[in-house]
């Protein structure tokens, strides 16, 4: 497999780009694998990549019912940050943030990670208390974080409405300078290409219809392409995790909800950082293409339809126009929905199950994209060793029985 570079681009241009190799193979499934990963989204592909790269397990298949990176990986607002509240969560996300740095070089695929900074606005006194608390916790954990005054917010985002005379004035913000955005599709494709190069079979249009369990241990999966045997099955299916778990007789504390996002028409650069506000339910960044990328609130009802209700989008845009009065004349080009699997404590489940050889990585709710490399990294460890990675340990499914929840509703909010 040839490396990508400016030079290779030049060389191929001389032959009219007729000789580029495939980004990945399209193999037929083997009879069995050491590990089957169900779900070819960013997390699943990252898991496969790190299984092969870090643990030398290459007899691996990723089964994807649609196309690679076609679920939430392709539908999120691409924000990357790690400034969560509790030690367990912030360490997990910060592990991911560490991996974001250098990821393009590691994968030899430009995922366009843009460390342009992420700001979470506070609009009332309790918001500011929570921000202080979170930033202090981050700081003492060695995570980049600062509290901004209203003026500092304005200095970084000159177009923001800093009037103190509005319904919910900006009182300050938390600021993670090292956070940012990335190109979501490229993340999936980069991990896919990397995994493929290490020998992982990526099998698209392969829908798992059953998880086969014999005597308390997993033996493989039934698919629309027949039975495929496996010593271990790792499910990384986000919104569909509940459906997958049911196949193995497992219950999960998850609800799948529509989460909507939207983009404007492309405009010239106008906002250089990521601005999020939980209190008024809005967050915005600008893509390299020029679109304002805006996340809306979560729809209240369970839904797998990848679409939500208009009033949620309306609510978000009134908040956006309040924060950025000049965006009022900009136009929404496209709105869409993803399916987010939400946990009662707004934290993921990265866990073994009571079925031997069956693992789940799910429940990322509205915050999965930013964790992609970290999630894959610790899940690969968990699967490879049949023992949770130290950072994954707190995210065991047993916490819902012991009461050891990691309540990140405040830091997770809707905003990602």
């Amino acid at each position: 497999m040839k490396k990508y570079s400016g030079f290779s681009l030049f060389k191929h241009s001389l032959s009219h780009h007729e000789n580029w190799q495939k980004t990945w193979r399209s193999p037929r499934p083997k009879q069995s694998y050491d590990v089957i990963i169900v779900g070819g989204g960013g997390h699943g592909l990252a898991t496969a990549y790190y299984l092969a790269k870090e643990h030398g397990i290459t007899n691996v298949a990723v089964l994807e019912k649609g196309y690679l990176g076609g679920g939430n990986t392709a539908r999120n607002t691409t924000i990357v940050r790690s400034n969560y509240l509790w030690d367990e969560a912030s360490k997990l996300y910060d592990h991911a943030l560490d991996l974001w740095y250098g990821l393009s070089q590691d994968l030899n695929y430009n995922v366009m990670f843009s460390s342009r900074g992420v700001m979470n606005l506070g609009h009332n006194l309790q918001d500011m208390r929570d921000i202080e608390r979170r930033v202090n916790a981050n700081r003492l954990n060695g995570i980049d974080a600062a509290v901004l005054t209203t003026k500092e917010v304005k200095d970084i985002v000159p177009i923001i409405n800093d009037s103190q005379d509005i319904r919910y004035p900006i009182l300050g913000a938390s600021w993670q300078k090292t956070g940012g955005v990335a190109r979501h599709d490229a993340v999936a494709w980069g991990f896919a290409r990397g995994a493929d190069q290490l020998g992982v079979d990526l099998i698209q249009q392969c829908e798992v219809t059953d998880i086969v369990v014999e005597q308390g241990a997993v033996t493989g999966v039934q698919t629309n392409q027949g039975f495929i045997g496996a010593k271990k099955v790792a499910c990384v299916t986000a919104g569909n995790s509940g459906v997958m778990a049911a196949m193995a007789g497992i219950r999960l504390p998850l609800e799948s909800h529509p989460l909507q996002a939207l983009v404007s028409e492309p405009i010239k650069p106008i906002i250089d950082t990521v601005v999020m506000s939980n209190a008024v339910h809005a967050y915005v960044s600008q893509s390299d293409k020029g679109d304002l990328v805006i996340g809306a609130g979560i729809d209240s009802y369970n839904g797998y339809g990848q679409r939500g209700s208009l009033h949620v989008v309306e609510h978000t845009l009134s908040a956006i126009c309040e924060l950025f009065p000049m965006f009022s004349r900009v136009r929404m080009n496209r709105a869409w929905g993803g399916i987010v699997d939400t946990c009662p404590d707004a934290c993921p489940i990265i866990s073994k199950t009571h079925v031997d050889g069956l693992y789940f990585n799910c429940g990322w709710g509205t915050g999965g994209f930013k964790a992609t490399p970290g999630s894959g990294h610790v899940f690969a460890h968990t699967v490879a060793h049949d023992d949770p990675h130290p950072l994954a340990k707190p995210f065991n499914i047993d916490r819902f029985n012991t009461g050891h929840l990691i309540d990140e509703h405040g830091a997770a909010g809707v905003a990602h």
Binding site: N240, G242, V243, A246, M247, R251, L252, P253, L254, E255, S256, S300, Y301, N302, G303, Y304, G305, S309, L310, H311, D341, P344, F400, N401, T402, G403
Partner: protein, 98 residues
């Protein structure tokens, strides 16, 4: 944008009038102290999350403030029925995964 028939107001009303309350028909255990931690955790946190028919509870928050149940398809969003508290659904999917 859901259009929901309130079984008490006996009218279709706009989604904005309602608030969603999750899975329906979850009975509180009569003797919580007799349950294992796992059984209690199951009651508190674990929910059916089907793709397809779902029996769920809604509250007509901006209307009559009554709680009621709905059978809704979580894929098509079609609402097959709504019914009052204490009533049983008439549309069910036997054999559907939870």
């Amino acid at each position: 944008m859901l259009h929901i028939y309130c079984p008490y107001c006996e009218e279709l009303r706009e989604e904005e009038e309602f608030s969603y309350s999750g899975e329906a028909h979850i009975a509180r255990p009569t003797d919580p102290e007799a349950l294992t931690d796992a059984e209690w955790g199951d009651y508190v946190f674990f929910r059916k999350n089907p793709r397809g028919l779902h029996h769920e509870m809604w509250n007509h928050a901006a209307g009559c403030r009554r709680y009621f149940n709905a059978t809704r398809d979580t894929q098509s969003y079609e609402i097959h029925e709504t019914y009052k508290m204490g009533e049983k659904p008439s549309v069910t999917s036997q054999g559907a995964a939870q």
